[in-house]
């Protein structure tokens, strides 16, 4: 067993990283490693799942069990692993195309399932790996340098969507502030239930609209990105049994999520403690509440009662 305390280095691999120089993904990768270190979760107790895209390469760069799955399927896959072995800390990561485009159906339904996993979306407004088409977060009228014409579809609002789906932890981070982001990720990982963190990520290669410069320099010169805590915003439901409070906080989160442009809030938009899917499983079968199903003895099952019931 690991006894010495774990550092960020313990979560790194020596795999050659082929993201573009200056890619915002580097910041998110660091934040993930920092968050895991801050929580002292042993690498072998951690599983990182990803979709396909530039962002999908993340697991290879994290020293933890790594699953680089299919485009848009990271949530179901991660969910399956978590339900099989709830002792694992499960992170799901992927691009905005991966999560809100091809994976939108899983994004919606993972929210209402509330399995204890953390989902981090690398939101760069483009399909990076396929060379810069607009992604589902790109707003109508926007045109990145690889697009032949401005977008004629609108962008979705990930935070508002997450509220409607039922995520119990909803946050937004910024890739170029890995320290703050790592704090958010640590909160998300600690949160019991489905946590969702949309991370504003720069893609210097294809997204020439939302660049590092754009984020860091608003009309008045200072950064557009600010922290919700700075303005005293608190997204955490105090009394989870109070339906009224829940609705009020959800509504406020949605309202806040539309703030964009000159001022862009990051931080926790909404959080509530609610029974997880695993709690639901345990209610049906209490043994599943204490031991991962993969660790229970299923090799000596007695199915005689089932056969007898057929006689």
């Amino acid at each position: 067993m690991t006894t010495v305390s774990l550092t960020v280095r313990d979560y790194k691999t020596d795999v050659h990283n082929n993201w573009c120089p200056g890619c915002g993904d580097f910041g998110i990768l660091s934040a993930i490693q920092m968050a895991l270190a801050s929580l002292q979760i042993p690498p072998h107790k951690t599983a990182v799942f990803s979709g396909i895209g530039c962002s999908g390469k993340t697991p290879h760069y994290v020293n933890a069990y790594g699953f680089h799955t299919l485009h848009g399927r990271v949530l179901p896959t991660a969910t399956g692993a978590k339900l099989a072995d709830p002792d694992l800390t499960v992170l799901a990561v992927g691009g905005d195309g991966d999560g809100y485009g091809i994976g939108a159906g899983y994004f919606v339904n993972a929210g209402r399932r509330n399995v204890d996993i953390t989902y981090v979306v690398f939101d760069n407004g483009v399909y990076g790996l396929t060379k810069g088409q607009g992604s589902p977060t790109l707003r109508k009228g926007m045109r990145t340098k690889s697009m032949p014409a401005p977008a004629i579809q609108d962008g979705i609002n990930p935070i508002a969507l997450a509220v409607g789906c039922g995520y119990t932890f909803i946050a937004r981070g910024y890739a170029l502030d890995p320290k703050h982001l790592s704090g958010l990720l640590a909160e998300a990982i600690k949160h019991p239930g489905s946590s969702f963190v949309d991370v504003l990520q720069t893609c210097p290669t294809y997204n020439d609209q939302y660049t590092k410069e754009w984020y860091s320099t608003g009309p008045e010169g200072h950064s557009r990105v600010y922290r919700l805590e700075e303005i005293g915003y608190d997204g955490v439901v105090q009394d989870p049994s109070d339906e009224g409070e829940i609705i009020a906080r959800k509504t406020r989160a949605v309202a806040k999520s539309y703030e964009w442009g000159d001022r862009i809030p990051v931080g926790v938009f909404y959080q509530v403690e609610a029974p997880t899917y695993e709690d639901g499983m345990a209610a049906v079968n209490p043994r599943l509440g204490s031991t991962p199903v993969v660790d229970l003895d299923v090799e000596h099952r007695d199915v005689t009662p089932l056969l007898e019931a057929l006689r």
Partner: protein, 614 residues
């Protein structure tokens, strides 16, 4: 005792409780010591469309349904004469199916013109008799609630014709309603009343009967394929079952779901089949024995997940395809064997997976169970190709022989060697199988990707590594071909040499076995090659049998003879005749024998088989 064989049929609108009635009748027969073979035909609809349930009762296990009906119990008009509410229909009701001398029991309140003189018409006033039962019990006010008891009266009436003691059905009622004694007693009473009514009026000298019972020492099981599969899966140590509702797979899933409190098992209803398979792949990678069950339209959404599992060498999942009528949404509640070729190449590129197609209850048990061993041992997905007919047909069975199953084998595990990065999840080995690890283990961290990858599981586009990895993956399939015993791959029934060699797979096995006997009685020697393992395909073994064959007849429940194509692809042997049934119903015994007679007579190379029974 003389062999005997009676088919009883009940028809009525969907939602009118014919399932319960037919199953109660079948259970009564099983209690009485008879053997049954029973299945339902119904529309993709919740209430109203015509459905019917055939119960073939015999002194021994019959392996197919018969088209002959000896007694028909009709709950409505349409059951008698068919339906006129759709303009394009060939359906003429069940009356034409009754054998001469047979009988039809129907509601006396229907205005019926007896259309045949050679059968017995037995009007029974369901409603009045029920009213009488309720009146006696002072439950008249509950008439609406107990309306379904009219069925009990109808079934009981049919017993009288068949000279079967009402006691067996009464016992079934008591059992079924053991938690509601009042309902039990009402039903028992309904049995008595219905029975008496018919006995007095219609039963004299009825030519067909269920002979005096000799109840067996140990009552056999009455079970459907979906139950056999589910129980075998539990026995195999299933940890995680994912599913999205779909006919006819839902029943297996719901059965497993209902066991979650009793067995340590996670069953998840997902948002679609894409989620179902990927969740299962995730669970398999995390160490679970994982499975998902679906039918064609659902499987169409699982194909990328099959490629995912194969590419990342996941130990599973085991995917059950309960085939139904295709293509597309097709005939959701009907029978077909139309997904074989799809299941064999269900995604882009070359990759390994196993496809097995059991042909009867005991093979369902063996294959459902063993598939998990294969998945773990060869680290690949396994498809079990089953179908609606075998899933929903009730048969009698004395024992499932679970004790004869091989032990659970989870394949080769890796041992940590102490070095932080010493472990290669995709190590190149002689067999192609790399000792695996399960997340959570120290020193055995691994990576995996659906991209081509190196032994560590990291992306690699290197040409040599690519060749090694393709050879590794496909090599596992060759290994499976070597290791899986011949008895699981195929079987020849009947004499080694024969005039006619029938070739088939899956649930048509039952019909084929049934007609082998008839043919033998007619002096035609025939044997039957059942192909069971579809991938890796036992090409040499199949070819060996077919090269000896004088005249081959392919029998399949699909329109293009898919097994025939598969055999051709691997052995270059074509079939002399192809009997294909694709009307959405399973082969009835008479349909197959008639078609074979036609083959013997006229010898058409391809023949569409159907007696158009609705």
């Amino acid at each position: 005792m003389e062999p005997w064989d009676v088919t009883w049929l009940i028809g009525g609108p969907q939602g009118s409780g014919i399932n319960a009635s037919a199953e109660a009748f079948a259970r009564a027969c099983v209690r009485a010591g008879h053997r049954i073979h029973a299945n339902i035909e119904y529309h993709s609809n919740i209430m109203g469309e015509h459905s019917y349930y055939r119960v073939r009762v015999s002194d021994r296990d019959r392996t197919a349904l018969s088209e002959k009906a000896h007694v028909v119990v009709a709950l409505d008009d349409e059951s008698l004469f068919g339906d006129s509410h759709t303009p394009y229909t060939s359906w003429k009701g069940h009356v034409p199916q009754i054998v001469p001398g047979g009988a039809v029991v129907y509601d006396a309140s229907l205005k019926v013109e007896p259309s045949r003189g050679d059968i017995r018409w037995c009007p029974v006033p369901y409603h009045q008799l029920l009213a009488q039962v309720l009146r006696e019990a002072n439950r008249e006010s509950d008439a609406l609630r107990f309306r379904v008891m009219e069925n009990t009266i109808a079934v009981a009436a049919s017993l009288a014709l068949l000279e079967m003691s009402p006691e067996w059905l009464m016992a079934v009622m008591r059992d079924e309603f053991r938690r509601r004694p009042d309902a039990a007693e009402l039903n028992v009473r309904a049995v008595a009343v219905g029975f008496e009514y018919a006995k007095e009026r219609f039963a004299d000298h009825f030519p067909f009967r269920l002979p005096a019972p000799t109840p067996p020492e140990r009552r056999p099981m009455m079970l459907r394929g979906i139950q056999a599969a589910a129980i075998a899966k539990l026995k195999a140590g299933l940890h995680v079952q994912t599913y999205y509702p779909i006919s006819p797979a839902t029943d297996e899933n719901v059965y497993l779901e209902s066991q979650q409190g009793h067995y340590d098992l996670v069953v998840v209803q997902t948002e679609d089949e894409i989620s179902a398979i990927n969740m299962a792949v995730g669970a398999a990678h995390a160490g679970a024995r994982a499975s998902t069950s679906t039918s064609g339209p659902g499987f169409a959404l699982m194909v990328e997940g099959i490629g995912f599992a194969a590419m990342t060498e996941a130990p599973g999942p085991v995917v059950f395809i309960w085939q139904r009528g295709g293509p597309s949404t097709g005939l959701p509640t009907r029978q077909e064997q139309g997904d074989l070729l799809f299941a064999l190449h269900p995604a882009q590129g070359d990759f390994p997976h196993i496809v097995v197609a059991p042909g009867d209850t005991s093979e369902i048990v063996e294959d459902s169970y063993e598939s998990f061993n294969w998945a773990d041992r060869y680290q690949m997905p396994v498809i079990v190709l089953v179908d609606k007919a075998m899933g929903s047909t009730y048969v009698t069975a004395d024992d499932l022989h679970l004790d004869r199953l091989p032990p659970i084998d989870r394949g080769v595990y890796a041992q940590a060697n102490g070095r932080r990065d010493g472990y290669e999840r995709y190590a190149l080995t002689e067999t192609g199988i790399s000792p695996r690890s399960v997340p959570g283990q120290e020193g055995l961290i691994f990576w995996s990707t659906t991209d081509e990858h190196d032994p560590k599981g990291h992306i690699s586009e290197d040409a040599l590594n690519r060749l090694q990895m393709v050879d590794k993956r496909m090599g596992k399939l060759a290994l499976a071909a070597k290791e899986i015993p011949a008895s699981r791959k195929l079987r020849l029934y009947g004499p080694d040499e024969a005039d006619l060699t029938l070739v088939g797979w899956g649930s048509t096995k039952g019909a084929v076995l049934a007609v082998l006997e008839t043919l033998a009685a007619e002096g035609v020697t025939a044997n039957f090659l059942q192909v069971r393992l579809m991938r890796p395909f036992p090409a040499a073994e199949v070819a060996a049998v077919l090269k000896r064959a004088k005249r081959t007849v392919l029998v399949e429940n699909n329109a293009t003879g898919q097994l025939g194509q598969l055999i051709g692809a691997h052995s270059g042997i074509g079939m002399d005749h192809r009997l294909l049934k694709y009307d959405g119903r399973p082969f009835l015994e008479e349909e197959l024998i008639d078609a074979l007679h036609e083959v013997l007579r006229a010898g058409a190379p391809v023949q569409s088989v159907s007696h158009l029974l609705g």
